[in-house]
């Protein structure tokens, strides 16, 4: 697993997203209310626009989510699954906070044990 540092943790606003360009991939990063970070693909599969990082972050039944800013389909930040359409999902990427900086791993690799307590390890894209 190769981690890429994308920004300082404090740059991410609580319950808001930001987009990072990692190896040519657009990655939507989110910091949730409890301080976790998540990374999913920025491409909205419904509209074809790269906008998911600009959606509203929330929860559905306790699961952290983002809603597409274009047509409001809700995606799980944990699994990337579209909760309004079981046929659709977006990729998820491992993301963590290390030394006050946010790191993501875009290339699939070996899963490491968490090195930092405040990190979130999310499942690989399907």
């Amino acid at each position: 697993m190769s981690w890429t540092t994308v920004c300082d943790y404090h740059v991410l606003l609580p319950e808001r997203g930001a987009c990072a360009l990692v190896d040519g991939e657009q990655v939507a990063l989110f910091r949730t209310f409890d301080g976790q970070v998540y990374a999913i693909g920025n491409l909205d599969p419904f509209s074809g626009a790269h906008v998911l990082s600009r959606g509203i972050v929330g929860t559905r039944g306790g699961e952290p989510t983002v809603a597409s800013p274009l047509h409001k389909q809700v995606f799980s930040l944990v699994t990337g699954a579209c909760l309004d359409d079981p046929e659709v999902a977006v990729p998820t990427y491992p993301a963590r906070v290390a030394g006050g900086r946010v790191e993501v791993a875009v290339r699939p690799g070996l899963t490491e044990a968490p090195a930092v307590p405040s990190l979130s390890l999310v499942p690989q894209p399907r």
């Binding site: 606003l13 319950e15 930001a18 990072a20 657009q26 074809g48 626009a49 509203i56 929330g58 929860t59």
Partner: protein, 821 residues
Amino acid sequence: MTGRTEGAVGQRRIVVVGFGPTAHRLVETLAERGFDGRITVIGEEPRAAYDRVALTSYLSGKSVADLTYTVPDGVVTRLDSRVTGIDRDARVVTTADGTAEPYDVLVLATGSAPFVPPVPGAEHAFVYRTIDDLDAIRVASEDATDGVVVGGGLLGLEAADALRGLGLNTHIVEMNQWLMPRQVDEGGGSVLKGHIEGLGLSVHAGAGVKEIVTDAGGRVTGLVKPDGTLLDAQVVVFSAGIRPRDELARACGLEVGQRGGIVVDEGMRTSDPDVYAIGECALAHGQVYGLVGPCFSMAEVAADRILGGPAGFEGADMSTKLKLLGVEVAQFGAMAGALDVTYMDPVGGVYKKLFISDDARTLLGGICVGDASPYTSLRPFVGKPLPAAPADLLFAGAGAAGLDLPDEAQVCSCNNVSAGAVRTAIADKALTDVPGVKACTRAGTTCGSCVPMLKQLLEKSGVELSKALCEHFAYSRAELFDIVRVRGIATFSELIENHGTGRGCDICKPAVASILASLHNGHVLEGERAALQDTNDHFLANIQKNGTYSVVPRIPGGEITPDKLIVIGEVAREFGLYTKITGGQRIDLFGARVEQLPRIWKRLVDAGFESGHAYGKALRTVKSCVGSTWCRYGVQDSVGLAIALELRYRGLRAPHKLKSAVSGCARECAEARSKDFGIIATEQGWNLYVGGNGGFKPRHADLLASDLSTDELIRIIDRFLMYYIRTADRLQRTAAWIESVEGGLDHVRQVIVDDSLGLCAELDAQMAHHVATYEDEWRATIEDPEKLSRFVSFVNAPGVPDPSIVFERERDQIKPMVVTP
């Protein structure tokens, strides 16, 4: 010999004689049901059918256009045209100008004429039926001090209300011993009299008319009663009953009743099978019906029969509930019975009586004066077992008795809709609100008195009428607004921790952001509030399909200097933006990437522009026509007012977007009546219309108040907007909000004009706070480096534009290319 065959329906020619509401309902029904023959309507009035039930509102500011029904496409109308003869053998009607109109089916909808008693001088009196009658009364009232209405029935009181509204000392003369003898008994009549005299009108019951006296110039000076006493009056209006207009039918040999009215069978057919008669001219089951509900039913039956259907008119419930001169009066079912239960409060002006069968089990009818609340819930039980103890029923407001209506009970008498039909529509169409029920069943769309019943049916239908905003809050938007206001809550976190669950979603977060903005008016990107905003509010621009944004600077009232126009052009050219003029008289610049937005705003702000809030659930524009400054027809400065209003309400966050317009004269070039609040200039000031919108379901705004000074106008708009912001649901535009408020526009008027809830001072203070604390969101953002840092496409590569955004060119401008997923 009918000369037509079944199945040749498409070629048939229908001629309708008379163009009142009943004729309109007939042609509307035919059009809705796809009749594709030729329909010609011949009316003697110079205008298309209008709402006669609302006639009096014409004198209080509604225009003819407000009252006029829309004629369905393809219907030929011949207005100002009097039919002089019907040749049933040749099947041709002839009009006064000699034109012959051949028909296959003839429908007589000639209505009725007011009865004018044959007393000396009667030719100098007025009647109260048409817009021309009202115009004549208005002119005569200009230099009159006193008016008399002869007839104390429903229409007579309506006319008396009109005379009072025209500023006359008004008398009502009624032959019977009490007012409204067809609707109430003596006890009810005396309570009604108390109300009406309390308003300053004089009631002369048990009195007739001997003579109308005039001066040498033929001007009315008074009315002499049979006992010889003289009532001074310059305006006399007869409203002493109606007579069916059956003269054409008589002349062509159709069967008419002994006391008038064209005899029809239950299919509304006259003695000639090719001729129908509907409305007040028809004698159905030996009776002439003068109420709009039965007349509409007749029109629908005739339409069905013309199309080959089996519908029949089975007579109609003559129950009425109305508000005359501010007094509620209702009558349903029988006006007598073996037993009765009466409640009378002469001090409070309330009279209620129920008639019951001799075994005390069956409800026969009832009368209400001063409080008609039992009417809605009890009328469907006429002829059925009493649903509760009579005394409880007298005091039960609509629904309070928890009654379950039988399916066959009629809920809406205007449109003949049963409780069963409403229940079926709710279940089949999965309806969840009153507007939905109205749209599907037509119930509640004419007089509106059954709306509480519709609400009750919805509530009892098992439909989950959850007011919860979303899974995170069990409250409606209006309730959340009150929680935030009363508890002084300043953040979303505080609200959801104490009054909700989870961490919100794309429904509740923007709604709470809007509530916080309406109450506190801080910057929408300040602190935690930034995370609540929809992308448009978050980037202070409108997201487009490819993830770019459009930018709309405010151009108040649509007025702009050449220099500013040039700046917009230069900015568009510099950033390569697609440029389009909007419907709200401003200019939209498309195709800006996130990182370009602050630089675009900087250029615009430096040139004196500010945010147009095109992205927000907020005031958008106040459109205007050029007004009296330039236009030869204008009567007021519409541009000046539009600018003042747009600057006053700019940035005001609301449950939905708000649009407005100001027209400088009645020609209405600014299309103000399609707006949430629209203003139309009058010679005396301004008329304010509310609740209009274009969009998915276009709707004309309704008159809220007329001839206002500019100060009065602004005060009422302030309160209207604040009351809407306080009580509307999320994404509910003003039209739907007014419809959902119990009591509708009248209630809104009472709250914001008459201050019936004592809220006005608070609403005024809230708007004053908004106006005082407004700041331009664009300027505040470009002056704040922390906020500015969010405007990047990539957090790890701030200078890199999003490579996925590409454009092609069309008509010399850019156009987004989107890879379809």
